[in-house]
C-alpha cells in the first residue's frame, strides 16, 4: 500500500452528484496516465441516502505511489485539472482536501534541540 493518500471531501446537493461524477470521468480521470503517480482508489457517498434539505458528501480517495511521486503528481497537473476543480466548485457547497499517511506510523515531531 502506498504511504501517501489524498482524500477529497466534496459536499453536494444530491442532485449534483451525477454531474460531478461525470466531470470526474470525462475531465480528470483521462489525464491520470500522464501524471504517472496518481490513481483514484475509491469513491464513496455519505450518507448513502437522499435526505430532505441535507447535502451529501462525495469522498474521493487517491493513491500516490510514494513521496517523490507526490511532487510528480503536482508537477504534471495541467490546465484541465484546474478546469475540473473550477467546474466542481460551481456545483459543490463546500470542498476540502486532505493529505494522509498510514495512521500506524510514528508522527514526525518537532526537533527537541534547535
Amino acid at each position: 500500500m502506498s504511504e501517501v493518500h489524498i482524500l477529497d471531501e466534496i459536499v453536494l446537493q444530491p442532485g449534483d452528484i451525477a454531474a460531478v461524477l461525470q466531470l470526474l470521468e470525462t475531465q480528470y480521470l483521462p489525464g491520470l496516465p500522464s501524471r504517472h503517480t496518481l490513481a483514484l482508489s475509491r469513491r464513496w457517498i455519505s450518507p448513502p441516502v437522499q435526505l430532505e434539505e441535507q447535502p451529501n458528501t462525495l469522498w474521493l480517495l487517491w493513491e500516490v505511489t510514494d513521496v517523490m511521486g507526490y511532487y510528480t503528481m503536482r508537477g504534471t497537473a495541467g490546465p484541465e485539472v484546474a478546469a475540473f476543480w473550477a467546474a466542481v466548485d460551481t456545483l459543490c457547497l463546500q470542498r476540502r482536501r486532505h493529505v494522509m499517511a498510514d495512521a500506524g506510523q510514528a508522527l514526525p515531531k518537532p526537533l527537541e534541540a534547535p
Partner: protein, 209 residues
Amino acid sequence: MSVLTTAQITLKPGADADAVEQALRQQLASAAGLAAWHCGRNLEGCWGAGHFTVDMIWRRPGPQRELDLTCAPGVASADVVGYDTIDSGLREPDLGDGIWRTLLLTTRAGTAPAEVAAFEQELLGMPGYMRGIRNWRLGRVTSPGSRWTHVWQQEYRTVDDLVGEYLQHPYHWGWVDRRFDPEFPLVWVVDTQLCHAFCPLQNSIIARA
C-alpha cells in the same frame, strides 16, 4: 542593519559561463557600498531559475544599493529582488562548502493578510522539523514592480539534505505543500510560477547579514 538583494542571472544562448562568472565576480568585488556578496552557479535540478544566483548585502546607509548586473557580456537578464527579513535562524554560522537554496515565490493576489501570515509561519516552521536546514531566512520582497513577494532561503551541508530530508519530510509534502497546490481549496496561496534555485555555497550568507 543591511539591505539585502538577491538576483537570478540568465545567460544569453551560447554565452561563456566561466567568463560571465568572472565578470560578475569582478563587478561585485569592486562595487561601492557592498558589505558582502556571493555568486554561485546554479546546479542541475533548478527550475524557473537563472544560471547564477547572486546575493548582495549592502551597507545601510550606503552610497549605492543597486548594481546593473546585465552589463557583463553574455548576460541576458538579471532578476534582482530586494527584501526585508521576516525571520531567520542560524544553526551553523560557520557553514562552508555547502548548498545555497533560494525559492522566489508570489502569493496570489487577493489572499487575505492573515492567510499570508499563516503561510509565512508554516514556512518558518520547517527548520523545527528538519535538522538538515542549517541556516535559513524568509524575506518579504520590497522591490517595486517585482513579480515576487517572498524569498525563502536555506543553507545545507549537501544537496542530499535539500532533495532528501527537505523534500521528503511529511512537514513539506503533507503540510506546507498544500499552500502551493491549486488543487487545494481555501488554503492555496502561492502562485504556481516559482523560482527554485540552488548552487554551491562557499560560506554562510545568512550569517553575514
